[in-house]
Amino acid sequence: MNEFSYIYLIPLIPILTFLFLGFTAKKIKEPVSGYIGTASLAAVFALSVYTAYKYFFEVGMVNGKYEPVLVMIKKGWVNFTDKLAIDLGILLDPISAMMLIVVSTISLMVHIYSLGYMHSDTGFSRFYAYLSLFTFSMLGLVLSSNLFLIYIFWELVGVSSFLLIGFYFEKPSAVAASKKAFIVTRFADMFFLIGILMVGYFGQSFDFETLNSESTIHMITGWIANHQIFSFMGLSIFTWALILIYIGGMGKSAMFPLHIWLPDAMEGPTPVSALIHAATMVVAGVYLVARLFPLFYHIDNGAALGVVAVVGAFSALFAAIIAFTQEDIKRVLAFSTMSQIGYMMMALGVSGYEGHEGLGYMAGMFHLFTHAMFKALLFLTAGAIIHAVHSNFMKDMGGLHKYMPISRWVFLIAALAISGIPPFAGFFSKDEILTAAFEYNKFIWFIGFLVAGMTAFYMFRLYFRIFHNKDTDYGDHKPHEAPFTMAFALVFLGIMTIIAGFIPFSELVSADRMPFHSEIHWTSPLVIGSILIAASGIGIAYLMYYKETDYPQKFASGMGAGYKWAKNKFYMDELYIFVTHKIIFDKISKPIAWFDRNVIDGFMNLLGVTTEKAAEKIKFIQTGRMQDYAMYFVSGVIAIVMLIVYFRN
């Protein structure tokens, strides 16, 4: 596929930028490093758009089916066996092309935005270096053609996220958050790795195309059929492998119960939250499931997919409930992210495979795309607001529409989009998800439906309390509109949010890579219902928060304990702390350390001590009196004689 042979440049440029900035971080000062980073990203963006266009509209379509394109960079980077190997290859197919667009767009926007946001920060160059590193890893992740390769980039995005969360490394909270994020995801990755090992063992390949191929699936299903014994809780061993892989995805995508790192991750600079923890990295889990969709779908008739759907739905609901109660705007957004990703998981979970069956898959990907746009927008706006107000908390805000018109409008657009109000992007994707869910399982659909309303409510709670509500007195320094660079990014994403919905997504992305047609049935009760619930959510928010009222307090006290639990995120953190510190550290690790120092090492020392003690004890036989010596001498003789005489007969 030589017309794509240039494609290795897409990940290469950022990593080179990273190395360059990393080594010259001391020399190059702001804003040069920023310009360098942005320029390289612009190049990447251009390439990505070109590649995607070329793939979708020129090369990709071969007799009615989007054929994947494989560009092998280094075959046998590591050869485990003749079958199993890590090949450095780039796999281009609808979803990776789509992800290319998402990643490069958002990343570029964040780069531009940060020129203003990170202005006069001591770590300016370092920040851009990290951004490039992350971009590299993320692009690598979406482009990788090999399960192990994706794991490699998986780890790399993890570490770059670690570095970026802990960017303000002198803030203990930031350090703690970064540590938490890394370890939690690492914990998930462990299952991912085990899953990979199992898939490699049973599937005899790490290569996506091979794994997803008919033959492999057939082989595996045959194997399962012959080895019924190798099953656990009614699911075959291979399903478990898939579930393990999915746990890896849950870790990155902050699905319940591995979501706890996401809220803390907001310690990082806001652009980072926008890039990593809203748009790109957190959807890696979704992308992973989509990548292996054929396996997920076919093995055990999609038993694993069921798990995906349930986890997704539950996380969506769970996050939405918590989002009600949070005060820190970034945390609200974080939980809304979690909830939206739950949506996407749910969509994949409920999806079928052929043609219109695969609506859920398409919808999930579509929502991933749109969500990336508007959620990034929300975060960046939040960043602008925080930049202006110097606080994360809603109580310090209010009435900002006077000071920050642009931010206000783009935030409104984004909020409408996420609430699913036509004609904004969120509406289309969300609506298709609900449709798919409805066809799959009413209960799941109902959860989704509920969450739609809740989303609308808490988003507008956020909107009203920031921009309207009370007229806060900001003292001497008035909040000011964001500088040009930031505003540019906001506007651009705002436009994207408006138009993204009209992309005929199903023509491009689908489970079996066969385009199909799907449009909104404006008259169907589903559509109307979803619009209505969103609207009602907004309405309630309006009543409670447009003006300063005491409904919220009433509401909260009415909920009582439930509210407290929700506000404390259902004490998940505490649970984790308990398990790790109280149990693993204190009950397992400490005793082991003690055991090592005192028992094993003690034994070794004991040997020495005993020897010396023995030496001290026996010294008295050397009395220094020659008659005793003679005594020993003679008795020695006699003893030996006795012995020989005795043993001889």
């Binding site: 001290e616 050397q622 030996i640 005489v645």
Partner: protein, 474 residues
């Protein structure tokens, strides 16, 4: 004995001549020229040592009571070489301690006569010669042990040594008489032929071996060793620990391997036990010694235990291993004792703690000490490692793997205490270390020889090959 086979015992004769010349010199030299006795003795003995390396043909004298063959002759040469080194080290001691009393000549005479005794012992063909050699080798040394008659410890050592030695030789004699009774002869060849091991004979043999074991200081016949070594002048401790022990080992080997071969099987597992005991007791006692001489004494006890490993093998491999080990052992022990002596002569200090910070002041000396101790512990690339390894190999050739394991564990223990002086000398620093001093040219020569030996003899296999070339004595 007549002129043509006269040269067979040329070593002993030469030594006798040397002794006579010393006597004459002693008589002739005037009081102020007495010190030339030392040079005379050294020169004469150097000459003797050189000639002793000239091979000698096989043969026997006095109706088989004196035998000589290449290996025994080589061994005599090795002994002579060891004595030579010891003499070199003892020059200062003689000058400072003996000349005032005008004992220089006596010292040489006694040492040489003891060496004659050893020579006779190792090439004995019957019990009479053997017994004579034994006594002749012991008594002068006893005299020398008590030589520092102004020093109470020296005299006490002398008393202990002579009493216990007499007991052991008495017991040995009794054993000989029993063997004589059963075998009807005191000639080794005859006895070898006439061995059918009645109980009486076995008791006799045990007594004989124990008489030799006393000289080798095997547990439980080792008690004298430590006290005597500590009390005696360092030169004499040195001589005892290498030369006379070496000679005794050789005799024990020949008796076991050749003369009383039939008895070996009976005896083996007793030796198995004795060797374990010897290694263990020797190590445990050495572990907590402060006085260097006593420390080395116990270490040499432990070494004897290692030698028994090869004694068990009862094959040519064992012979080679033992001879080679003795050679290396002479080098290492002479060097170690030499350091102790030099220091104690200069400063009168003999304790390990006194050596603290030695390397900072006398680096060369402490290096010699370290290499010697490493050789004793058996650490490559120093020759001691190879010597020990061959002992193990000899034992392994008969499948005594457990014994080897125990032995090597003992090496680990011994390494601990061999490292103690090293620790004192190298690791630690002290406020008042032993000040720097120049040791005299003779002991320097001895040290250089020893070091070269220790570093070359192992890595260069020629010596071992040479020994094994002539050790087909079984």
């Amino acid at each position: 004995m007549d002129l043509d086979n006269f040269m067979l015992m040329r070593d002993e004769i030469l030594l006798t001549v040397i002794i006579l010349m010393m006597l004459v010199a002693e008589v002739l030299l005037s009081q102020k020229n007495k010190k030339y006795v030392i040079q005379l003795g050294l020169v004469l003995f150097a000459g003797y040592t050189f000639q002793s390396f000239i091979p000698n043909e096989t043969g026997e004298l006095f109706g088989g009571s004196y035998k000589t063959y290449p290996l025994v002759h080589l061994f005599k040469a090795i002994l002579a070489f060891g004595v030579m080194m010891i003499l070199l080290q003892s020059v200062t001691w003689i000058k400072e301690k003996l000349l005032p009393y005008d004992f220089a000549a006596e010292f040489f005479i006694l040492i040489f006569s003891s060496l004659i005794g050893l020579n006779f012992m190792v090439s004995a063909g019957d019990f009479l010669m053997f017994y004579l050699g034994l006594e002749l080798s012991t008594m002068p040394i006893i005299a020398l042990t008590a030589f520092e008659f102004w020093n109470h410890r020296s005299v006490e050592a002398g008393v202990k040594y002579i009493m216990l030695a007499s007991v052991s030789s008495a017991i040995l004699l009794f054993g000989v008489s029993l063997v004589y009774a059963t075998a009807g002869s005191i000639q080794f060849d005859v006895i070898t032929g006439a061995m059918h091991l009645p109980l009486l004979e076995i008791i006799g043999l045990i007594m004989i071996f124990i008489g030799v074991g006393f000289k080798i200081s095997l547990v439980p016949f080792h008690f004298w060793a430590a006290d005597v070594y500590e009390g005696a002048p360092t030169v004499i401790s040195n001589y005892l620990s290498v030369i006379s022990k070496g000679g005794a080992v050789y005799v024990l080997m020949t008796l076991l391997f050749i003369v009383f071969k039939a008895f070996q099987t009976e005896w083996n597992w007793i030796m198995y036990g004795i060797s374990i005991l010897t290694m263990l007791i020797g190590n445990l006692f050495a572990l907590r010694q402060q006085n260097m001489k006593r420390f080395l004494a116990f270490s040499s006890v432990a070494q004897a235990g290692f030698i028994l490993l090869a004694m068990l093998s009862n094959n040519e491999l064992g012979v080679k291993a033992i001879i080679y080990f003795l050679l290396i052992y002479i080098f290492s022990n002479v060097a170690a004792f030499g350091v102790v002596q030099v220091i104690s002569l200069k400063t009168g200090k003999e304790n390990i703690d006194d050596y603290t910070g030695l390397y900072r002041t006398n680096p060369k000396l402490s290096l010699v000490l370290m290499i010697a101790l490493f050789s004793l512990a058996g650490i490559p690339p120093v020759a001691g490692f190879f010597a020990k390894f061959f002992l193990y190999a000899a034992a392994a050739s008969k499948g005594y793997y457990l014994l080897i394991f125990i032995a090597v564990l003992n090496v680990t223990i011994s390494l601990y205490y061999y490292l103690l002086p090293v620790r004192a000398a190298f690791l630690r620093t002290s406020e008042n270390p032993i000040p720097y001093f120049k040791s005299d040219i003779y002991s320097k020569m001895a040290f250089v020889i020893a070091m070269v030996g220790l570093l070359v003899l192992g890595l260069y296999s020629g010596v071992f090959e040479y020994i094994s070339g002539m050790s087909n004595i079984l």
